[in-house]
């Protein structure tokens, strides 16, 4: 009878789903804490540097990304999301979101040293001598980025898990009346 096997499968799937949900909640709390910390450090920087020195005047309206989001298919068919720093790549791995970022000197197979100027650190928008609270803010936001990518992957897994669970429940319902 396939029902016990199905039930066992459903149980393990449910457990996995609950574990993922717990991890998601923990990551969400951590992300909120990082973002709050980041904004608070920005306020501290404003206190030290003057309110006009840390604000929308300091950055250009068009900026190049330092960090890009990538997706890929893992072996169980699920998409995984992660963030990659733009400067850490070799020229062959350029993804679709970086059209403007690198100037490739031909598609060589050997990894070249960086052929284009590295993207400017956003910290330097506010001057060279920035207070430490601004650096803390940058660090907090960077950690938050990684967490956000993990959360996106988890969310995809949870959605997939729920749809699987729904499918198994349907199958079970079909089996039950037959065996009755």
């Amino acid at each position: 009878m396939a029902a016990p096997g199905l039930r066992a499968q459903m149980d393990s799937l449910l457990l996995q789903l609950l574990r993922d949900l717990e991890e998601l909640e923990a990551k969400r709390a951590a992300l909120n804490a990082r973002v709050e910390e980041g904004w608070f450090s920005l306020s501290k920087a404003r206190y030290a540097m003057g309110a006009k020195s840390v604000g929308p005047l300091q950055y250009a309206s068009r900026m190049e990304p330092q960090v890009c989001v990538y997706t890929s298919e893992a072996q169980d068919g699920l998409q995984k999301v992660w963030v990659v720093r733009a400067s850490a790549q070799t020229p062959e791995e350029v993804g679709p979101c970086e059209a403007a970022l690198r100037r490739r000197k031909g598609l060589s197979r050997t990894p070249e040293p960086e052929s284009s100027p590295a993207p400017r650190d956003p910290l330097n928008w506010f001057g060279i001598l920035v207070p430490h609270s601004l650096r803390h803010a940058q660090a907090s936001f960077r950690e938050g980025l990684q967490l956000a990518a993990d959360m996106a992957s988890l969310q995809i897994r949870i959605d997939w898990g729920r749809s699987q669970l729904g499918g198994l429940q349907e199958k079970l319902k079909q089996l039950e009346p037959q065996s009755a």
Binding site: E36, W39, F40, S43, K44, R46, Y47, A48, G50, A51, K52, G55, L57, Q58, Y59, A60, S61, N124, W125, G127, I128, L129, V130, P131, H132, S133, H136
Partner: protein, 350 residues
């Protein structure tokens, strides 16, 4: 020679000194700050500020009220008072006021140049410039490519002209050089202001010179602290230190060689004034930062300036105290709007 400030001062400046002392009496008190800290929203902050000397300064603001609007309105109010003092002043007080506005002018020039680098529109930045630092050639600042262009084309008529002596190089203006330019201009300005006060002599020199010495040393410390881990070389760093403070010359030389906070602290321990300040700095994210400690010390010195009469320092002290009050209110407002009340009491009461 009779040190006769008390004989001559009131003839030219007595009215303004009386006025500034009246303004000083209307600064926010500890009770006002306690009330502000207990506010839940920015609207409550606005209501509480109405009961103080600020009055209805936010009355014309449309919703939603933001921290930067509060900051801008407070700044406009300070500017109105300052302009009143300035318009009614006679020499040499007028020159003193001009010196005071130079620091804001330097900030505005740097803001405009940064904006040009980021390709922002001039109007946008002009709206955000500090009102005390306005000068007529402001709109033309963004066309300059090098410091000598900037000087010859734009700033030669302004009070900032004499401060450009050390900054004339052919480097193009990118971020590193703009920062260097800012610090060098400020250094020249501070040294010129110090010389002016010292030459004036009398009570003004007795009050202003220690304040300006502290400002110079504070800048040296903060530049050193912020330059750890950046691409600024030690020699470059040394050229940015103002030389009119207590740290000159040995302290500045030692400071230029410092590579971390502890070495900086050891330099400060040689000086009786700075040793207790560095001891008050908490470590990590818990206690006070160095900037907080310096702000507190500055507030103390400015409050003490009001204990003597017949000098120009009261005007400088009042402006700086008012700025600290604005920083306090903005800090409290930000803590309230971000709902992060743990450090809301880190303001510095006056």
């Amino acid at each position: 020679m009779l040190e006769g400030a008390e004989f001559y001062f009131n003839v030219d400046h007595g009215y303004l000194e009386g006025l500034v002392r009246g303004c000083k009496a209307s600064l926010l008190t500890q009770q006002d700050y306690i009330n502000l800290v207990q506010c839940e929203t920015l609207e409550d902050v606005k209501i509480h500020l109405q009961t103080t000397d600020y009055g209805n300064f936010l009355a014309n603001e449309t919703n939603p009220l933001t921290v930067s609007k509060i900051d801008m309105e407070m700044r406009k109010k300070l500017c109105r008072e300052f302009e009143y003092f300035r318009n009614h002043s006679l020499e040499p007080l007028s020159t003193f006021f001009t010196y005071m506005t130079c620091s804001y002018m330097i900030d505005n020039v740097i803001l405009l140049m940064n904006g040009a680098l980021q390709k922002k529109s001039v109007k946008e930045i002009l709206a955000k410039c500090h009102p005390l630092g306005r000068f007529t050639e402001m709109e033309a600042v963004n066309i300059a490519e090098t410091p000598s262009d900037l000087f010859n084309a734009v700033l030669v008529e302004t009070p900032l002209a004499p401060f450009f002596q050390d900054c004339m190089s052919e480097n193009t203006l990118d971020e590193l050089n703009i920062e260097l330019l800012r610090n060098k201009l400020y250094k020249s300005y501070l040294e010129a202001f110090y010389k002016f006060c010292k030459n004036h002599g009398d009570v003004t020199a007795e009050i202003m010179c220690p304040i300006l010495e502290f400002e110079a040393d504070r800048r040296a410390f903060i530049i050193t602290l912020n330059s750890f881990g950046t691409e600024l070389s030690k020699d470059d760093r040394e050229t940015l230190y103002p030389t009119c403070g207590k740290l000159y010359p040995e302290g500045l030389r030692l400071l230029a060689q410092a590579e971390d906070f502890d070495q900086m602290r050891r330099v400060a321990e040689h000086y009786g004034v700075y040793k207790p300040l560095f001891e008050a700095v908490g470590d990590g994210s818990g206690g006070k930062t160095l900037e907080d400690v310096f702000y507190e010390h500055e507030v103390q010195m400015n409050v003490l300036a009001f204990n003597r009469q017949f000098h120009y320092g009261v005007f400088y002290a009042y402006t700086k105290l008012k700025e600290q009050e604005m920083r306090n209110i903005v800090w409290i407002a930000e803590c309230i709007s971000q709902r992060h009340r743990t450090k809301i009491n880190s303001y510095i009461p006056i």
